[in-house]
Every structure is written in structure tokens, then in C-alpha cells.
Symmetry: C2
Subunit: 185 residues, 2 copies
DNA sequence: CGTTTCTTGTACCGTTCGGTAAAGACTTTC
DNA sequence: GAAAGTCTTTACCGAACGGTACAAGAAACG
């Protein structure tokens, strides 16, 4: 019947959610087909490289979103304060207060890291660099800004783990609020 | 030939390492057999419940180790300072400066959480409680001690994600050193 | 020594895995 | 309206999955 989904990018959000919830290995083609509403034929039409290409496309889309919505504002906001504030707010929304897992962080802990190591490394390195640059412009010392950026970017990942483990989004919002206070005071 | 492995507990370390490296889903019986040196016959003899029982046994062993080596010292050390110092040192050794993944944290991010949610929640809740109690005895206010304990326990998980992502153990050791300084100063 | 209990290797089960092939159905283009 | 290109359905493949059955081998015990 050819439902003319038309764009492969239309499938990316559902694809991303599927990888998020089940991990790279756990996201079977059956689950992916269910999540996207696409059969194997369509999936392999859009992603001839199979699961690996699907995951790579999702990673690229996520990378683009963060670059646009978080990294660039961090680098460019003048004064830098609002860029940092926006990072915390956008992060909290994006991860739905810890109810939504970070796909990149999840990949980092699984053996999907071997396959997508470069993308994973790049994502976190650029986040830390962008935040560190913002702190630098806000008057922080070089070493202190780098350390604080690592603390915050790492802390966000830890906050997700904690909120999911305790089954309590307040663990996420609490940690973020305290990190924010530590940066802005 | 019946190599008389004798104790099912002898297989737990290798079993744990296998789940750590590949996750619950990714650890196939073939990989598990390879890691433990045991055939399916032996594995199902010791763990009639299959993979789920193996993972539960590993979680129980990990829980016991942390209770003995970290939680109890945190609760009992008098003065509390050395108990906290010991926690940081033991944690750094156990996770091999972030080269070794936290199995419980990994489960929390995957859909293994649905299966082992209670054990995962308990592990983190008891860690936070024990650390919080130590800080309380060290003179911290109740709310501040709880917040700091969440920051540190979550921060450790984030440090593992970061070190693995950046492929740099210094991200782990650095974050831990700064959290330690924040607690002890 | 023989017997019982514990441990193991092997063959096998049905299911699901990622991936392929090819024909059909719809759109677009001229 | 036919030809070309795009998208989807369906059936299928070999391999690997988790799990079971069972008989043979080693240990322990009388």
C-alpha cells in the first residue's frame, strides 16, 4: 500500500526511542519495526547498512540536536550565564527529569561502545569543551573551568542512573539544581 | 571428566565480569560458558533458573561485597572520616579507575532494570543512606548530608560513564578526587 | 568393591535473531 | 498512459538464541 513515509528522517525519533529503551543489542528488528511502524523491507530500504546504520543515524541526529540547542548557545551566549542556565533547563526537559535515558551514555556502558566509540567520545568531549569555554568566559580559571565542566557533564549522566535506579525523578532534578547552584553562585 | 568445580560461588566472579562487559541481554550462554569455563550442563546444574538466576546471584554477591567493604564501614567508622576516605579508595580500586563498569548502574540503564529493579534500587538506596549517615555524624545538617550523598553516589556513576566515553581513566579519578575534597574540607 | 550422589558433555528443541530476495503497489515524470 | 523510480509486503535463509533431556563420568561413602 506504500504509505509514503517518504523521509527516512521521519523514522529517527521512534528509532532513537527504541534504542534508548532497549539498548543497541536489545533493540531487535521486530521491536524496531513495531516502534517505527515500518517493515523490514522499508527499514532496509532507508538503512541499507542495517541496525548499525540506524544507530549511527540516530547518534548523528542526537549530536545535531545537542550541537544546535546546547553546545552552540554555550559557546556563543554573551554574557555566558544565560547559555549555562539554558543548558540546565534544556537538559532537564530533554531527559524528562531522568525518566528518559541518555542513549549516548547507555552506549558508553554497553559493548556498543566498541562500535560507536568515536561518536560517543566526540559527544561528551564537545559538551565538556563548550561548557568549559562558557565558564572561562564567565571568569573561571582554566583548570577550574575544565574540572567543573567534567563534574557537571558527568554528574548529569550519574543523575540519570540514580533517578532510574531509585525510580524517583527528584534525584535527577535535585542533583541538577545543586550543580547549577555551584556554577552560578 | 568432572573437574570438580564444586562450588557455584566459584563461577560468580567470571559470571559478573561477563555481565559487566556485555550487559544482561548481551551476555549469551555461549559467552558465559566461555568466561566461566563451564558448559551448559554445569551452568544449569548450578543455576536451574537460567540466566536470570545467574544475574541475581551476581547481584547478590556484589551487594554483599559492598555491604561488607563499604556500607558497613561508612555506618560504623568512628570517627566517620576514615570510613569515607576508605569508600573513595575502595571505589577507585573496585571500578579500576573507571575502566570497569558498574554492573548495577549498567542494569539501571538497560531494560534489565525491569527484571532486577528491586535489587538495583536497594543497592543505591543503601549506599546513599550509609554515606548520608556518616556525614551526619561528621556534623553535617540532615538535608545537606542527604544531598551530598546523592551527589557523590550519582557522581561516581557519572564518572564511570565519562571515563569510558572519553577513554580516559583520569576523568574518573579527577571527579572522585574533587568530590572527596568537597566532603572532607 | 559397588552404590549413590554430584557434575559434566552432547545432542537437541522451538524461537528469534539480523539480513536478503523479489515481486507488488503506489508516485512521479514525461 | 506507459515507463521509471520509490516504497512496502511477504516469504525465506542460516545462525545463534535460551533452555531441556539424558546418559556417561567422577567422587564420596558404605
Amino acid at each position: 500500500m506504500a504509505r509514503t513515509v517518504a523521509e527516512r528522517s521521519d523514522a529517527l525519533p521512534a528509532l532513537g526511542e527504541c534504542f534508548r529503551e532497549h539498548g543497541y543489542e536489545g533493540a531487535s528488528l521486530a521491536l524496531i519495526g513495531e516502534a517505527t511502524g515500518l517493515g523490514k523491507g522499508s527499514l532496509y530500504h532507508f538503512f541499507p547498512g542495517g541496525k548499525a546504520e540506524m544507530a549511527a543515524a540516530v547518534l548523528a541526529e542526537i549530536d545535531g540536536w545537542f550541537e544546535r540547542e546546547i553546545f552552540a548557545p554555550l559557546r556563543e551566549a554573551d554574557p555566558p550565564g544565560p547559555g549555562i542556565t539554558h543548558m540546565f533547563e534544556a537538559t532537564e526537559t530533554y531527559f524528562r527529569s531522568g525518566r528518559r535515558v541518555c542513549l549516548v551514555g547507555g552506549f558508553a556502558l554497553s559493548d556498543a561502545r566498541d562500535r560507536f566509540g568515536a561518536a560517543v567520545k566526540d559527544y561528551f568531549a564537545r559538551w565538556i569543551d563548550a561548557l568549559s569555554a562558557a565558564l572561562l568566559r564567565a571568569g573561571w580559571e582554566r583548570k577550574a573551568s575544565r574540572a567543573a565542566a567534567e563534574d557537571v557533564v558527568g554528574g548529569i549522566q550519574g543523575a540519570i542512573v540514580l533517578a532510574r535506579s531509585l525510580d524517583d525523578p527528584r534525584a535527577f532534578t535535585g542533583m541538577l539544581a545543586r550543580m547549577r547552584e555551584r556554577l552560578m553562585s
